[in-house]
């Protein structure tokens, strides 16, 4: 097999936060980039959720965090609609609020609960659930999923630190140790 450096470069670029495509917390120009591919119904992603929050607090504006959808629909029956609900909330300007509510309520992600969360967040719940039911955000979720499949996602959650997959434990200490390593970004 031939080594194709352009392919390697474009792949690692794909795994950095992208201002126009991604849901981002922090500046895309921040020196440290963390991208998570996650599934709202995955218990391991649920465990990682407060860890990411703690890491964001620790690193402050040195960190740019992006979340991309990777619903494992065969394992998790509500994961796809939950992902689309977060995107639908994003269309009303509250992606991160919905993201947080979903991870804080992983045991209740049926459509009725999704509509309730929309209401609690002050969103147009009827519009949100309508968009979910007719798959208005399905293409967006699929796009995230495909970028993950091509980027080397190997389960959920998958973390990419400065474009490189983190194969260690998704614990606070293990993630932070890699995040603060000096590197050429």
């Amino acid at each position: 097999m031939k080594y194709d450096p352009t392919n390697a470069v474009s792949k690692s670029k794909l795994l950095l936060p992208r201002a126009k495509h991604d849901h981002i917390q922090g500046s895309v120009d921040a020196p440290i980039a963390l991208v998570e591919y996650g599934d709202y119904e995955c218990p391991y992603c649920g465990q990682a959720y407060p860890i990411v929050k703690a890491i964001q607090e620790q690193l402050g504006d040195r960190l740019c965090f992006a979340f991309r959808n990777f619903p494992l629909a065969n394992s998790h029956p509500h994961a796809e609609h939950a992902a689309e609900a977060a995107e639908a909330a994003g269309a009303q300007g509250k992606f991160w609020e919905m993201h947080d509510v979903l991870y804080e309520n992983q045991v209740a992600l049926d459509d009725e609960s999704l509509a309730q969360y929309a209401e609690v967040l002050g969103l147009d719940a009827r519009r949100l659930i309508g968009e979910v039911l007719r798959g208005a955000h399905m293409a967006r979720v699929r796009e995230d999923f495909q970028s993950g499949a091509r980027g080397g996602v190997n389960g959920t959650p998958s973390f990419f630190i400065n474009g490189v997959r983190h194969d260690g434990a998704p614990s606070f200490d293990a993630l932070l140790a890699v995040l603060v390593q000096p590197n050429a970004r």
């Binding site: 097999m1 390697a8 995955c42 494992l72 394992s75 998790h76 499949a149 190997n154």
Partner: protein, 174 residues
């Protein structure tokens, strides 16, 4: 394609002698269920992904087979058939497959144990299981790409997708 994917040269798998790109893929017939067998040469004319993995019932969400199950539509778009292989028996595979709702066959390299894994150079004598090894086989039955992952690291699907895309671009290339 990354140069660190050269077969048999990955850190952690130095002893592996996985068949490299260009080798003819050895034919085999293995049980996929207690009463059904799958023969590799039955898929001649389309690319085949052979995914050897150590064991059924890996305890994580989105383990390697679960992940490939989700990515299966992408493999199918590229015309490929996916076959999982481990040394587990057909009854074990049936239960695992049902539990994880897998939509592709799992083959039992069970008796003689690991015989097909040995043919492909990916049997682990010390563990009695196979390596975590991937082979993308062309429609002509020739290995186009192979990769052995450190046994504890799920390799994901990016290498498979790139290899299948290359096959789709140039069907005559081996």
């Amino acid at each position: 394609m990354n140069n660190e994917t050269t077969p048999g040269q990955q850190p952690g798998s130095l002893k592996s002698a996985a068949l490299p790109a260009g080798a003819v893929a050895p034919d085999f017939s293995l049980r996929s269920t207690p009463d059904q067998a799958v023969k590799l040469s039955d898929f001649r004319g389309q690319p085949v992904v052979l995914a050897f993995y150590p064991a059924d019932w890996s305890p994580v969400c989105g383990d390697q087979m679960g992940l490939y199950n989700e990515i299966l539509p992408e493999f199918q778009k590229l015309g490929a058939e996916l076959l999982g292989i481990s040394v587990d028996g057909a009854w074990c595979h049936t239960a695992f497959s049902r539990d994880r709702k897998l939509h592709f066959p799992l083959l039992a390299d069970f008796e003689p144990k690991g015989a097909v894994a040995r043919l492909y150079g990916v049997y682990r004598e010390t563990d009695g299981t196979t390596e975590r090894a991937l082979f993308v086989i062309s429609e002509l039955g020739v290995i186009h790409w192979s990769y052995v992952s450190p046994v504890g690291v799920n390799p994901g699907a990016d290498g498979i997708l790139s290899a299948l895309e290359e096959l789709n671009k140039d069907p005559n290339e081996i």
